[in-house]
């Protein structure tokens, strides 16, 4: 599973992209986020519950209950601030 990070989520984790093999019982985007937040202090500072982070599955914005699979491209990032 490919996971992309942007903006301060990436800065805190220290990586823009990683490949993860979460336990197969993780079925949703929200469960994946919680699992990633437990991987270390950087991941916790970026992804812990309460932080204003949104997620996407295969480049579509997705809610925490969105199902995920091993071939998905997942991304986490803050609210957008373009333009």
């Amino acid at each position: 599973m490919t996971i992309l990070y942007f903006s301060w989520v990436r800065d805190r984790i220290g990586l823009g992209r990683e490949t993860a093999a979460p336990p197969p019982q993780l079925a949703t985007l929200g469960q994946l986020r919680l699992w990633l937040a437990g991987l270390g202090p950087g991941h916790a500072a970026a992804l812990s519950p309460g932080l204003p982070v949104r997620g996407a599955v295969n480049q579509e914005l997705a809610a925490p209950d969105h199902p995920i699979g091993p071939d998905d491209e997942i991304a986490f990032f803050p609210l957008f601030s373009g333009g």
């Binding site: 992309l4 942007f6 903006s7 301060w8 800065d11 996407a56 480049q59 579509e60 991304a75 990032f77 803050p78 609210l79 957008f80 601030s81 373009g82 333009g83």
Partner: protein, 146 residues
Amino acid sequence: MIRIQTAPFDPGAELNHLAAGQSEAGALASFVGLVRDEGGRLIALTLEHYPGMAERLLAEIEAEAHRRWSLDAVTILHRVGRMRPGEAIVLVGVLAAHRAEAFAACEFVIDRLKTGAPFWKYEDRSDGAGWVETTAEDAERAQRWE
């Protein structure tokens, strides 16, 4: 037309290109977002984006504008990477038969783009550096169109 690019772009040339050759269109409304120097404190602004998703969401915004109004052509151009005060960040140009549609669609596109497409601003300032938060005003302006 949707384009995301690292190189600087020439807003005037892009608008002239949009206006050219559409002889039914009487109205071109446009918006250009420029890097403000924040009273001399801003050294550079860096725009990051999510390649692929950004292009797709801009294309959706453009398609929604075409659904809501009768438009001849829309240009959305967003620069990414590091840029200096005075440079153009974003351009939205809308060509339509009449100005009411052109203005409404242009405001719609820039309002949606600001909070609805995966771009993030990072400011490098003489008084500190950091990621820019979505402003409450931008969030409100985007909600006008829901």
